[in-house]
């Protein structure tokens, strides 16, 4: 079985992990005038349950 030859230094570990970045999700305001919550585009609104004026799921 292959094993590492050298211990990875604290510096190299931290440099590698510095590249782990989170990105902000794309959000748009719900087109329902009574709601206006921020939601991902092309998805039924999680707070009012509407999509393009149709009630898709029960509101939270």
């Amino acid at each position: 079985m292959a094993v590492p030859k050298h211990k990875v230094s604290r510096s190299n570990t931290r440099k590698r992990r510095s590249q782990w970045k989170a990105s902000a999700p794309t959000l748009r305001a719900c087109p329902n005038r009574a709601c206006r919550e921020m939601k991902p585009p092309h998805v039924a609104c999680p707070s009012c349950g509407q999509y393009k004026g149709r009630q898709v799921s029960s509101p939270a």
């Binding site: 991902p40 092309h42 998805v43 039924a44 999680p46 999509y51 149709r54 898709v56 799921s57």
Partner: protein, 186 residues
């Protein structure tokens, strides 16, 4: 010849995928709206639409073809008694997939697949007027009026009277056309 689905099957094997899709279609016809993963919703949509098309035909052969997929006779009865007649004037597009928020736990893309409850705008307008498309109606009416005009011209002995009748009919045609146009606008 239909090309096979690319990529891995749902559930792992072809038979398992058939069972999953048949069960999803059964649940969809039973409840009218189901929440599932987006991949499954998109895969069950063509199967469900084919079954509804068979239900709109409504004869015994198509019922037996549907029973090959949906093994629940109560659901097949509902499909042929309620869902098929409701969609009889819709040329396909019986279901709608709407994406919803990802699932808690595995963050899977989720979607709602539902039977379309609304009638189409053209079918509603035809039901309100009690007629077919305005274009088809005008074409048939115009041909009948032309045939009557030729019959009058052949029967009429005096040319002047025939010309007068022709002008009268043309005026009547123009008014009737205006009426139909007004109806279309309204």
């Amino acid at each position: 010849m239909p090309s096979p689905t690319k990529g891995p099957r749902l559930g792992g094997s072809p038979s398992h995928q058939r069972l999953i899709l048949a069960n999803l279609a059964t649940a969809l016809f039973e409840h009218g709206r189901i929440t599932t993963t987006e991949a499954k919703a998109k895969r069950v949509q063509p199967l469900a639409e084919r079954l509804i098309t068979k239900a709109t035909k409504g004869d015994l052969h198509n019922r037996r073809e549907v029973l090959k997929t949906i093994r629940d006779k109560d659901v097949v009865h509902k499909l042929f008694a309620e869902i098929g007649p409701f969609f009889s004037d819709r040329p396909g597009g019986y279901t709608r997939v709407t994406k919803t928020m990802p699932r808690k736990g595995d963050n899977a893309q989720m979607a709602v697949i539902e039977l379309v409850n609304e009638k189409t705008a053209t079918s509603e307008a035809e039901a309100a007027r009690g007629t077919k498309f305005a274009k088809d109606q005008q074409a048939t009416a115009g041909s009948s009026q032309q045939s009557s005009e030729t019959a009058e011209a052949a029967a009429g002995s005096e040319e002047a009277s025939a010309a007068e009748s022709a002008s009268e009919t043309s005026e009547a045609e123009s008014t009737s056309d205006e009426d139909t146009e007004n109806k279309d606008q309204s």
